[in-house]
């Protein structure tokens, strides 16, 4: 741990709860997938919780978040109701998109959570657009936080977005979650610049840092600073968080491209374990707190699963709804 600890116990509680909520949520979705209730593609965030939880709670209500298909953690970190998120994954009418989006397309307009996007790199132009809209409105110094993986960096749109964001000085925080694998391809096999991707920001004149993405407090500190900088209106920043996903790319992934020993080793970095140990050490949390939170979270997840399972499927009519928005009067 390289950070100074400058959080209160209450904050420690929040952070631990949220990370655990994400962890348990993801574990539950995997079980639901194995039972055939969640279907299609399921990409879990297990191991990367520190990034979403380190970053998102520092945003304001008027800020915007957009990202990729491994989006449950971000959604929960933003405060989206786990019941609705679980229901969406189960394809129920009570889901965040009425069952029409699924795991990869969590949206909550009210919370400014703008998806959840399945096309790798597809979120970049949208992020640029939102930042542009913010700037043109001239109402607030809101920012856009754009999450993407080490794979997305290979798409042309990444470079187009970095270029335009820098050129027009747009308020974007580019949050790279580098878990070293683009699906089954290790990052050095597909990125000519190697695994230290933050270097890619340099030609675009965007200030960039690389941090340990499994150190929640470090992430938090770095992002707080980044947000502040971006609100000043001088253009985007780039934060590369090095992390590891403990499970496969998705449920279909046999993970034969990684050695088991590597995964085992990475378990030593488990962000939740580390934070828990730190908090206990520093007296920010007691073991009773931990137990209590553990139980609360388990309960929350159980409720979410039950809610999702018991919710009805979408009505057939909904196949045809919201293809088009209604016109202005």
């Amino acid at each position: 741990m390289t950070t100074t600890i400058n959080i209160e116990p209450a904050q420690a509680l929040d952070i631990y709860s949220t990370m655990l909520l994400i962890r348990r949520f993801e574990e539950a979705t995997e079980r639901l997938y194995q039972r055939g209730i969640v279907r299609g593609f399921l990409h879990t965030y297990i191991g990367e919780e520190a990034i979403a939880v380190g970053a998102i709670p520092n945003l304001r209500e008027d800020d915007y978040i957009i990202g990729h298909y491994r989006d449950h953690g971000h959604a929960l970190a933003r405060g989206i109701d786990p019941n609705k998120a679980m229901a969406e994954l189960c394809g129920k009418s009570t889901g965040t998109s009425g069952g029409k989006g699924g795991s990869m397309h969590i949206f909550d307009a009210e919370k400014h959570f703008m998806g959840g996007h399945a096309i790798v790199g597809g979120q970049f132009p949208l992020a640029v657009g939102m930042a542009l809209g913010i700037k043109m409105k001239k109402e607030k110094d809101s920012v856009v936080m754009c999450f993407f993986g080490d794979g997305a960096v290979q798409e042309g749109e990444f470079h187009e977005a970095m270029n335009l964001a820098s050129l027009w000085k747009l308020p974007i925080i580019f949050m790279l979650e580098n878990n070293l694998y683009g699906m089954g391809t290790e990052v050095n096999r597909s990125n000519a610049g190697g695994e230290n991707i933050f270097n890619a920001a340099e030609p675009y004149n965007i200030p960039a840092v690389q941090i340990d993405g499994m150190d929640i407090l470090l992430v938090r500190e770095t992002v707080i600073e980044g947000i502040k900088k971006v609100r000043e209106g001088n253009g985007p920043v780039f934060i590369e968080s090095m992390a590891y996903r403990y499970h496969g790319h998705s449920m279909a992934d046999p993970t034969n491209y990684r050695a088991n020993s590597e995964v085992e080793e990475q378990r030593n970095r488990d962000p939740i374990d580390r934070f828990k140990a730190l908090c206990l050490n520093e007296g920010l949390l007691t073991s009773e707190d931990i137990s209590r939170i553990d139980e609360e979270i388990d309960s929350k997840i159980q409720i979410a699963v039950e809610f999702a399972e018991q919710s009805p499927e979408p009505l057939l009519e909904s196949l045809y709804t919201n293809i088009y928005a209604a016109p202005e009067a």
């Binding site: 998109s97 949206f107 909550d108 959840g116 132009p125 949208l126 809209g133 409105k137 088009y324």
Partner: protein
Amino acid sequence: MTEMILRDAVAKALREALDTDDRTFLMGEDIGAYGGPYAVTKGFLEDYGEDRIRDTPIAEAVFVGAGAGAAMIGMRPIVEIMTINFSLVAMDQIVNHAAKLSYMSNGQLSVPLIIRTVTGGGGQLAATHSQSFENWYASIPGLRVVVPATPQDALGLFRTCRKDNNPVIFAEHSLLYRVRGEVPEEYYEIPLGQARIARPGEDVTIVSYSGMVRVAEEAAEKLDELGISAEVIDLRTLSPLDLETVVESVKKTNRAVVVEETWKTGGFSGTIASNIQEAAFDDLDGPVLRINGPDVPAPYARNIEQAMIPSADWVVESVTYNFGL
């Protein structure tokens, strides 16, 4: 009524948008300092400033997607893709994002983005610069596809698009910018999904859109000399599609031919023809004919390029032969 050319009608529509709606701004390649590749936005940069008239890098994916992103949070951008050929570079943003955000968010988000672009061939610009893809976009749920052929329609339809709240492909035909037409002085709008009967007739229905409307009208003149009265329909929008007007006409004339510039295979004329025969089978006095360009890439040399663009003669020959008229 005033008379104006189509280009000026579009410019008028854009100025109206910029003048009356703070949320509107323009983005595209060379629309500002250069004055617009087709001179539509000439003078705009001076009048509206570089904040609202944004020259973009040559990066269609990001600036079209940015249009969608800005629209998502309440702005009303109008993006210009220099020609519809270049829209392929932004196709993911158009088809996978702009068109589907409303559906995937189940109505939480909307994308009121107008994408203006230029379509059509015949200018000896060779294979990659002479295509017309508006028919492809017309089959994407979530998009509107608007194809005006007259100044009056361009202005009236654009006004409606601004209120539509959905992503629109507004395709202007490169050879129609100088077409003259009358435009009402008073404010008017033209609804989407309403075709126009450009010329009434009794014996055969010619369905067309965009650059082919005047080919259809020319064909109607020639058929008239042969004693055949043709009814010409200008679809004006491909999505939504006004099938009702077309079918009503065919039930009256019993004969239909669809004229479209793009390749025959996969052309929208196939969808239209199929819809006509489903709805009016027992009223047909012959197969529903399709006049499309042949399935070839556009060549550079003038004579062979001209040979791939449907002409009035093709229409006349096909009609007289196939219907025994």
